[in-house]
Symmetry: C2
Subunit: 97 residues, 2 copies
């Protein structure tokens, strides 16, 4: 079982993400962001690098890709909501994009 973010952690850890293009998802405790790249090669290149990080963290995104756009949703199933793992993966994705 993974711990959900506390109220204090949401203020310190989640707030910076929400100011950097992430938004709270509708109807679930999750964050979402749409990344737009130059073309498919750039978009899928981002996904490939993010996939390696996700596998290493053993924490995987829900994501979709249409040509140069990648939509990402992060949540932690075994926490039934947002955890520190989502903050970590979100930061890595921002650094990669």
């Amino acid at each position: 079982m993974t711990d959900k973010l506390t109220k204090a952690e949401r203020e310190t850890d989640l707030a910076p993400l929400l100011q950097n293009g992430w938004s709270l998802a509708d109807g679930r405790d999750a964050i979402a962001k749409t990344f737009v790249f130059k073309d498919f090669v750039e978009a899928f290149g981002f996904m490939t690098r993010a996939a390696l990080h996700a596998e290493k963290l053993n924490h995987h995104p829900e994501w979709s890709n249409v040509y140069k756009t990648v939509e990402v949703v992060l949540t932690t199933h075994d926490a039934d909501g947002l955890s520190a793992k989502d903050v970590d993966l979100a930061k890595r994705m921002d650094a990669l994009a």
Copy 2:
């Protein structure tokens, strides 16, 4: 502009795909299939191989991934519906999966 599949081509080319797990999408002239793998590494490995084919064909899927599941939708925007490119990419994806 890419030509849409003719009625005859739908019978010869699309029918075998529809018997192999592909289905016609709701509300648009597109085909969809859900691929389920052993784990994320297998699922993303499939996506990576399919991405290389897609880029070579200059024809890209709409797709989403959640852990070991990959949902694919194929259609041809500049044909405003299904074309031979979708049949080609669908066959390659089936061969890769």
